[in-house]
C-alpha cells in the first residue's frame, strides 16, 4: 500500500508559485508553508540593512500584512520572490522615511528612559564582527546599489528577479552591481593606502 503524504508534507514540496496560488484560494496549509519558507528570506533581507536591523521583526510583520492585502494582484505562474520583495522593499522604505521624519521633528529634552527590552541584542555571541564587516562594506554604497548587492548576493535572487523587484531593467541592475563592486574596490584600496 502506498502511503499518501499528509497535507503539510504535500504543501512543503510545492513551489513558491503554487503556494502563493493556494494562498489566493484560501488554502491555509499553503499559506502557512509560504509564510514559513519566505519569512527567513525576508528577515535576512531586513537584517543585513543596518538601519532596519533593530526592527526586522516589525518589518517582517508589516510586510506580511501588505502581502495579505496585495494578494489579489499576484499573477498565477509569475515568479513570487520579486513580487514579495517589491512589497518588502517598499515597506522598508516607508519605515525608514517615516522614522527619519519623526526623528527630525522630535527634540530630545531629557535622556530617554531605559527600555525594558532591546529589539535585538547585537552584542550576543560572535555575530557582531561579521555584521560590522558587512556594514563596513555596505556603508560605502549609495542606497540603490546597496539594495541591488543585497538582493543579488545575500537574498540569492537572479538579475531578472532583482530587476522586477526594483521596477528596473536587467541592464540597470547589472550596471548598479558593477558600479557597486568598482566603488568597493576603490574604497578598500584607498583604505589600504591610508594605513
Amino acid at each position: 500500500m502506498i502511503a499518501t503524504p499528509s497535507a503539510p508534507e504535500a504543501a512543503s514540496s510545492l513551489s513558491l508559485e503554487s503556494l502563493m496560488s493556494g494562498y489566493q484560494q484560501a488554502d491555509e496549509q499553503a499559506a502557512a508553508t509560504l509564510i514559513e519558507r519566505v519569512s527567513p528570506l525576508l528577515l535576512r533581507y531586513f537584517w543585513v540593512h543596518a538601519y532596519h536591523r533593530g526592527y526586522a521583526e516589525d518589518l517582517l510583520q508589516e510586510t506580511w500584512m501588505r502581502i495579505h492585502k496585495a494578494r489579489p494582484t499576484y499573477r498565477r505562474g509569475s515568479p513570487v520572490l520579486p513580487w514579495i520583495f517589491a512589497i518588502a522593499r517598499h515597506t522598508g522604505l516607508d519605515y525608514y522615511r517615516g522614522a527619519r521624519r519623526v526623528e527630525v521633528r522630535e527634540m530630545q529634552v531629557d535622556p530617554l528612559p531605559e527600555v525594558a527590552a532591546k529589539p535585538v541584542d547585537f552584542a550576543a555571541g560572535d555575530a557582531e564582527p561579521e555584521m560590522a564587516e558587512l556594514d563596513a562594506v555596505l556603508a560605502h554604497l549609495p542606497a540603490s546599489q546597496r539594495e541591488v548587492v543585497v538582493m543579488l548576493k545575500v537574498s540569492g535572487m537572479t538579475v531578472e528577479e532583482v530587476a522586477r523587484a526594483t521596477a528596473s531593467s536587467a541592464g540597470s541592475v547589472k550596471q548598479k552591481a558593477h558600479r557597486a563592486y568598482r566603488k568597493l574596490r576603490e574604497a578598500f584600496a584607498q583604505g589600504a593606502r591610508s594605513k
Binding site: Q61, W83, A86, A124
Partner: protein, 241 residues
C-alpha cells in the same frame, strides 16, 4: 580588496545564522493573524485588460467632453492634421495607460510614467509647430486661459476615475502612479481640446493645450507624493510608537 574577497564577506552574511529565535514569534503572530478567517480572492485582471480600461476611459472622456462643448476643432482640422495628431495622442495615452496598469501590481516592470510625460511634452509642441502656423501673441492669454480651464475640467474627472481604478490594485509608489494618472488625465484634456478648440494658432496650441498635460501630470505627481508621505509617516510613527 578583490572582487572575490568582497564576495566572501557577502557570502558570510548570506550564510550566517540569524540570531536565535529572531522572527519565530513574529512568524507565529503573522500566521495567527492571517490564517484565521482566510478567504479566497479573485485575482486582479491581466495587465492588458487594465491598459484597455485606462484607454477606454481616456477615449470616452475626451470624446464626451468634446461632444459636450462642441466639436468645432475637428471640423477645421485638415485630414493630414487629424492623421498626425490623433495617432500620436493615442500612442502617448497608451504609454500612460501601460504605466498606470503596471503601477497597480508589484514587480510588474519598469515604470513608464516619466517617459509618457516626456513624450507628451517633447513631441506635441514639435508636432504642433510643424503642422500649424501663427505665432502672434495678440489675445494670447485671453484666448488661452479658457482652453486651459476647459482641459483641466475634463482632466479632473479622468484623474478621479484613474484613482478609483488604481485603488483596485495594490500601489507601491503613489508618486509614480499619480504621475501616470495625471499624464493620462492631461492627455484626455488635450484630446478634448483638439476636438473642440477651433483656434489653430501654433503658439496657442503649443502653449495652452500642452500645458493641460504638464499641469495635470504635476498635480497628479504632487498628490501621489503626499499620499506616499502620509503612508511613510504612519509607518514611521507606528514603528516608533
Amino acid at each position: 580588496m578583490k572582487k572575490d574577497e568582497i564576495d566572501k564577506i557577502l557570502d558570510r552574511a548570506a550564510n550566517r545564522d540569524l540570531p536565535q529565535g529572531l522572527g519565530r514569534a513574529a512568524m507565529a503572530r503573522v500566521q495567527g493573524t492571517l490564517l484565521t478567517d482566510l478567504r479566497p480572492v479573485r485575482p486582479l485582471a491581466p495587465p492588458w485588460v487594465l491598459t484597455l480600461g485606462f484607454l477606454a476611459l481616456f477615449a470616452a472622456l475626451a470624446v464626451g467632453g468634446g461632444w459636450a462643448l462642441g466639436l468645432h476643432g475637428i471640423r477645421v482640422l485638415s485630414l493630414g492634421q487629424r492623421g498626425s495628431i490623433f495617432p500620436l495622442l493615442l500612442a502617448a495615452a497608451w504609454l500612460a495607460a501601460v504605466s498606470g496598469a503596471r503601477a497597480m501590481r508589484p514587480a510588474s516592470g519598469a515604470p513608464l510614467c516619466w517617459i509618457a510625460l516626456a513624450f507628451a511634452v517633447g513631441v506635441f509642441p514639435v508636432l504642433f509647430s510643424l503642422i500649424f502656423s501663427g505665432y502672434g501673441t495678440l489675445n494670447f492669454v485671453h484666448e488661452g486661459v479658457p482652453c486651459l480651464v476647459a482641459g483641466l475640467c475634463v482632466a479632473i474627472p479622468t484623474g478621479l476615475a484613474c484613482a478609483w481604478i488604481l485603488r483596485l490594485g495594490f500601489v507601491l509608489n503613489w508618486s509614480r502612479s499619480g504621475l501616470a494618472a495625471g499624464v493620462l488625465s492631461g492627455l484626455t484634456g488635450l484630446g478634448m481640446l483638439e476636438l473642440h478648440c477651433p483656434n489653430l494658432k501654433a503658439i496657442h496650441v503649443m502653449v495652452w493645450h500642452v500645458a493641460v498635460v504638464v499641469v495635470s501630470g504635476l498635480v497628479g505627481w504632487a498628490i501621489g507624493w503626499m499620499a506616499d508621505r502620509f503612508r511613510s509617516g504612519t509607518a514611521g510613527e507606528s514603528k516608533l510608537g
